[in-house]
């Protein structure tokens, strides 16, 4: 490793820009020199604010850091599980942005690749791994920034390689990622065993999102108390929110966790026209009415209480001049096509609910039977897949039926809204029919 001298650390970032502080001044990707100037060198085990691997895990524990890959699992518990597992551990960093509503992994790998690499090296120290894999989307342009950053570092105590993963929605689910690394099959497997017990090559495997690891790089330098100065008590720190839809500056913005969604939208330049709802949590998240969303703090707990999930903090602002049902039908069609096709309730259930929603949008059935059947199907498919993919699709559909209930009556009566034929706000890849 290019041994960074044990000099004093610069002042920690203040405010809500932490992960992107290294590139904030220039607006261009942070090279290694920029990175060291902004954050200082990665503390050595003995010289840091923590002592040894156990001390590092303890610092992460006290910071309250939770995974940024969607589930929000406490990072220290994962670290502990892998560190105490049987066999030589492996670290896998997930930078795939598996949900098309999310673009933060790409942003981080392009603008702050050295924070990600720091986090990977720290995670290796914490669990005692000498091998790490950074997973990125296949053929992505930003991967060259990661390669350049790795070339600039050449860590000699850890073998770090990058692997390109197919662009499938379920491919970056943690068991699918491990399955891909083991067998080239990017489909989820039945758990347990979890990757922490038996993952890559049958070894204890830490799978963490690249943003989670980048936060760990800040905690290792500036400590858990500093980390908790931003965010909410149960969801500390900042997060990279991907904000799309009717806002002035769509894209990735770093915000404090716990920020009300209305102010998160303001961070993206604010509402560009009158809104009716916000889709929260990516394509497997759900809809929240604009009135409820504006005041909703962006945390896992608050989102769950509002019937959605925070997921990877992806938001889509839906304007009044849009049909929420048609947008949902299009997203469901995509999610159905992205089923790995392994579990019956997902393989058959998702196309069925996508058809039902499309029929509702077209007003194909004025009897209401389609709506009843859809309600029944939504309860039928939940919890019956190897992964949570069908649950996410069902949650999105159920939320649409709830939040756009008035619209459903009009559609069933044969009076669809004028925007039903031009669904375009949900960030669904174009090839989806």
């Amino acid at each position: 490793m290019t041994a960074p001298g044990p000099g004093p650390l610069p002042d920690p970032p203040t405010g809500s820009v932490r992960l992107l502080a290294g590139s904030a001044g220039s607006g261009s990707p942070a090279g290694f020199a920029d990175h060291l100037a902004r954050y200082g060198p990665l503390p050595a085990d003995s010289a840091g604010p923590w002592d040894g691997p156990a001390g590092l895990i303890d610092a992460v524990d006290r910071s309250g850091l939770r995974g940024r890959g969607g589930a929000g699992f406490p990072t220290s518990r994962k670290l502990t599980a892998v560190a105490t597992g049987r066999g030589r551990p492996v670290v896998v960093a997930n930078g795939c942005d598996g949900d098309p509503a999310t673009a933060k992994d790409a942003m981080l790998l392009e603008f702050a690749p050295h924070l990600v690499i720091d986090g990977v090296l720290l995670a290796c120290r914490a669990v005692g791994a000498d091998e790490a894999v950074i997973c990125v989307g296949e053929g992505e342009e930003h991967t060259r920034y990661l390669h350049a950053a790795l070339d600039a570092r050449r860590p000699d105590d850890v073998a770090v390689r990058t692997v390109e993963v197919p662009h499938r929605f379920v491919a970056s689910e943690e068991s699918a990622l491990v399955n891909f690394l083991n067998r080239g099959d990017a489909r989820p497997t039945v758990t347990p065993p979890r990757p922490a017990e038996r993952g890559v090559g049958g070894r204890p495997t830490l799978v963490d999102n690249v943003e989670t690891l980048a936060h760990m790089a800040l905690i290792a330098r500036f400590g858990p108390d500093w980390y908790r100065e931003a965010g909410a008590p149960a969801s500390p720190g900042t997060t990279l929110a991907t904000i799309g839809g009717a806002v002035h500056r769509p894209g990735v913005h770093e915000v404090e966790l716990g920020t009300p969604v209305g102010r998160v939208l303001a961070a993206a330049g604010g509402e560009s026209e009158a809104l009716q709802a916000v889709q929260i949590g990516g394509l497997g998240g759900s809809w929240v009415s604009i009135e409820q969303a504006r005041l909703l703090p962006l945390t896992h707990e608050d989102c769950r209480a509002a019937g959605t999930v925070m997921g990877t903090a992806a938001l889509v602002a839906l304007p009044e001049r849009a049909c929420g049902l048609a947008e949902t039908a299009r997203a469901l069609r995509y999610l159905a096509a992205e089923s790995a096709g392994q579990c019956g309730p997902c393989m058959f259930g998702l196309p069925a609910i996508a058809d039902d929603m499309a029929d509702l949008v077209r007003g194909a059935d004025r009897s209401g039977a389609t709506l009843d059947r859809l309600h029944k199907r939504l309860t039928t498919i939940v919890g019956r897949g190897a992964c949570a993919h069908p649950d996410g699709a069902a949650r999105l559909a159920a939320a649409a039926l709830r939040v756009f209930a008035d619209d459903i009556d009009c559609h069933i009566a044969g009076l669809p809204c004028p925007w039903a034929r031009s669904a375009r706000w949900m960030p669904v890849p174009e090839e989806t029919p």
């Binding site: 019956g344 309730p345 897949g385």
Partner: protein, 77 residues
Amino acid sequence: MSEDAGLGMEVDPIMCRAHGLCAELLPELILLDEWGYPQLASQEVPTSLQAEAQAAATACPTLALRLSAGKEANPRS
């Protein structure tokens, strides 16, 4: 685990190919959805149905229906 303890029952959703034998042999606890895949009314088998549950698990052509001594929930984070 004593012999009297309830059996846990779960379906491996990837292995299951909707043959439906389980629902024929254990209709008290297993219904089929509209696509022919089993839905469990309970993840625990009462003592009175353990013989039927064993028969259903043995009959499954893909060994997707699994019984375990004591209920073990499948944790999902």
